[in-house]
């Protein structure tokens, strides 16, 4: 099993509903977030190209945060999801420094926190909170090993990219372009 997510940059309008849904679902402390929205503008007026991306932890196959964690608190769970065991995390910050996507933050309680692909919801057969609430339905989630999952189907149909694959992280968050 290999969980992955695809975000359609052509459909996303940057409403940040995914951000708020995540904060509510995961009790993210005020002022922090596990996902965020980036808007890039390319070109010179009037030839402008806009791209809107809902970003989060890339749950990398070659995760630098898991590699550098001194205690094993950052680990790979079922389906390649990168999780942090709160009671093993010492809050040293190595994983935060190691993430080229800056996807982690120090939780005010001391441990390091990040997107979990809503692991607790997946176990109940639900989709991550951000995917469920998206009003434009621009996010696809599922198992890459299952050819019929939402994410496999859309990745076969559409052209996609990942963020800075040259960092060698093998990210599993895809952007449809």
């Amino acid at each position: 099993m290999r969980y992955a997510m695809a975000v359609d940059t052509k459909k996303c309008v940057g409403c940040s509903d995914c951000v708020v849904a995540c904060q509510t679902e995961n009790n993210v402390p005020i002022g922090y977030c596990r996902d965020w929205v980036v808007e890039t503008m390319d070109g010179t007026y009037p030839q402008l190209e806009i791209e809107i991306r809902s970003e989060r932890c890339n749950h990398c196959d070659n995760a630098p945060c898991v590699r550098c964690c001194p205690t094993g608190a950052s680990h790979k769970a079922e389906g390649g999801i990168v999780l942090v065991k709160h009671n093993r995390c010492i809050g040293c910050g190595a994983c935060i420094a190691s993430c080229p996507y800056d996807a982690r933050y120090p939780h005010p309680d001391g441990y390091v926190d990040k997107c979990t692909f809503c692991y607790h919801r997946l176990k109940e057969g639900m989709k991550p909170a951000c995917v469920s609430v998206c009003p434009t339905k621009c996010m696809y989630f599922g198992d890459l090993d299952d050819p019929n999952s939402d994410v496999s189907v859309v990745l076969k149909k559409r052209k996609s990219k990942t963020l800075i694959p040259e960092a060698g992280t093998e990210p599993q968050l895809y952007f449809l372009i």
């Binding site: 940057g14 940040s16 951000v19 002022g31 922090y32 977030c33 996902d35 965020w36 929205v37 980036v38 808007e39 890039t40 503008m41 390319d42 070109g43 010179t44 809107i52 970003e55 630098p64 590699r67 550098c68 964690c69 001194p70 205690t71 094993g72 608190a73 009671n87 093993r88 995390c89 010492i90 809050g91 040293c92 910050g93 190595a94 935060i96 420094a97 190691s98 993430c99 080229p100 800056d102 933050y105 120090p106 309680d109 001391g110 441990y111 390091v112 963020l163 800075i164 040259e166 960092a167 060698g168």
Partner: protein, 313 residues
């Protein structure tokens, strides 16, 4: 032209200070660890070479400050942890892929070994010293018997400690400035030159001072070479590493790096060392202090500059 806007609030290092995750305790520790490693390296080396009587300051006296430096460094590391009550989890795992994990174990060994080394020479400081308990006396006899083995352990672990402080940073490919394998040898060289400077500062014997001034000069030269080598590597590398190098070549860290680290911390003490060796009398306190200052500044500049160097996408 490419413009990037973050619409919803991400913890962005440029916008939000959360991602500037490592503050002053980390560079302070890297300096103290490197300095202690340098001091212990020379103590063990000259003991193994059988020159304890010739260079008593290096072998017996200066190592007294090593455990103090290491303990202050460890306290700084502990202070920087955000989940302090769980720090012991470090010692429940050995993760070879994580430099911080084997670094933590290395620190445990070198701190303990430096305490033992100091304890063996405690009578240099307090001539009438006597251990209160019999088992401590037996322990002293035991370590005196195997002092050479202890010296080898210290020598090897001093090198590992010196290198690991650099590898700790170079293992992060997310921070292009740190992501160079030159950093390990460079931090080791910086620690060794700081150790030699500390010996010159504390020694009263002209022969010993002359030797360590010579050693200091050679290592400062190596350091300068490694710095040039590092920038050559950066400039011949990918865009992100070229951008990282530009932080020091016209960017915001240019002045502080070239003036404090290279000019005052390496170049000037190097010239002063050279003048001393040519027979001009230079007060040892000037080059010694400058080398220590440069070594400290080097860690601060590198840790802070590294955290703003990043991949762009």
């Amino acid at each position: 032209m490419n413009e990037e806007l973050i619409i919803s609030g991400r913890e962005n290092p440029m916008v939000d200070p959360h991602l500037n995750i490592w503050h002053w305790p980390i560079p302070l520790y890297l300096f103290l660890g490197g300095l202690a490693a340098g001091i212990l390296f020379f103590a063990a080396l000259y003991y193994i070479m059988g020159k304890e009587k010739e260079y008593p300051t290096a072998v017996r006296k200066v190592p007294f400050i090593a455990p103090i430096l290491l303990i202050i460094g460890l306290a700084a590391l502990f202070f920087d942890l955000r989940h302090k009550a769980y720090f012991w989890q470090l010692y429940t795992a050995i993760r070879l892929q994580s430099p911080m994990s084997w670094g933590a174990w290395t620190l445990l060994v070198i701190t303990a070994a430096s305490v033992v080394w100091s304890a063996l020479h405690i009578r240099d400081l307090f001539p009438k010293w006597d251990w209160k308990y019999q088992w401590l006396r037996e322990l002293e006899t035991f370590f005196n018997k195997y002092k050479k083995a202890l010296a080898w352990v210290i020598l090897i672990y001093a090198v590992i400690t010196g290198i690991y402080t650099g590898i700790l940073l170079s293992a992060f490919n997310a921070r292009p400035l740190w992501n160079t394998s030159v950093l390990g040898p460079l931090f080791l060289a910086s620690g060794l030159s700081a150790g030699a400077a500390a010996i010159v500062l504390m020694s009263k014997d002209p022969k010993e001072r002359l030797l360590f001034t010579k050693i200091d000069l050679i290592i400062l030269g190596v350091e300068l070479f490694l710095i040039v080598h590092m920038f050559m590597g950066f400039l011949a590398s990918t865009q992100v590493q070229r951008d990282a190098a530009r932080l020091f070549l016209g960017g915001q860290y240019t002045m502080v790096f070239w003036i404090f680290v290279v000019f005052l911390g390496i170049f000037i003490p190097g010239i002063l060392d050279l003048m001393e060796l040519k027979g001009k009398h230079i007060p040892a306190v000037i080059p010694g202090t400058l080398v220590l200052f440069g070594s400290l500044m080097f860690r601060f500049v590198f840790v802070f500059a590294g955290q703003i160097s990043r991949w762009l996408y």
